[in-house]
Amino acid sequence: MTSPEPHRPIIGVVGCGVTGSRVVAHLAAEGARVAVFDQARSVASATARRVKGIVLDRVNELTACDVVVLCQPAPHLDLAGWLVDEHTAVVSMGDDLDDVRVLLALHDRAARGGVPLVVGAGMAPGLSGLLARYLAPHLAIVDELHVAIHGTAGPACARQHHDALGRTALGWHDGEWIEPPGGSGRDLVWFPEPVQAHDCYRAALADPLLLQRAFPGALRITSRVSATRRDRLTARLPMLTPPHATGDLGAVRVELRGAAAGGERITVIAGAAAPTADLAAAVVAATALQVAITRLAPGAHSLADASVAALELLHHATRLGVRVQEFTGVGRATGW
């Protein structure tokens, strides 16, 4: 066994599914030492073997890591809470609205533990927040933020999206929370190439919750997910067809509306398109690496927060393969 190298952080990854295995590959390629844990030990072994990582037998061995990345299906609350109590920094890529809400409530425990807890560090929330923060300096006043997403990563992510479409959505409208039914509010959204246009609907997505925290002055915040008519019709039923085993092409689009310094109304739009698992893995790996090597204040953070801006996460995500695109043209008003 070689002697430990103190300058290389140890990053634990929980869940070696479609996205988790990509996160492990990114972390190892960036020089981190990786320790993986999965309920299916054979999956963890296969993932760790590819990067000369370590397989953990028990979840309590994660406390030896500098940062633990939670890539397993929701809920993340119990494990994240236990880890911050054990003074271990946590990056969660969970996108379940209820789970994200209770993870944010761990702020005081994380602060007491003296460690950061980064919530919603995947594609959306995650990359969506980074794009919102990237676009915000283009406007003197941010009035509205609108997020749309397309695609799913692994099967667990697909089930999560299916369930989200059938549950009560969340939005911020003129300074108060609204809860419209999931599957309502259709809008045609043009995503970056090659995804192009898809009908998108309200769903139980966590972006409004995190963006309202990060942009408290915004008047309207919405989040929509692409869906077909069949998706809408069957959203409240179990999934009728099995999800893609390896995920599919995904995209995220973030639109900010507000006022320029001169008072004129402007709209700025940015997005990214790639296999969903690739986008999410690049964002969460960049976040884990920067949290491991940079000092981030103890407590709960989202990637849209100004407190995280100093980590340059969008820049590091682009290094790991995320291609940021800006819409250049006339952003016409939609039903939003």
Partner: protein
């Protein structure tokens, strides 16, 4: 006869649901001009 009646009821229900879904959404207006271009994100 009973099966035929059930099939007709099922078809009518399916048609009604499909019509409701089709007319309920109000749609949106897609951008008419412009397109996407890749941007670099250098460290600040």
């Amino acid at each position: 006869m009973k099966m035929l009646r059930r099939a007709l009821v099922a078809l009518s229900l399916a048609g009604a649901i499909a019509a409701t879904l089709r007319v309920k959404g109000k749609g949106g207006v897609p951008p008419q001009e412009g397109g996407w271009r890749e941007v670099s994100v250098p460290p600040t």
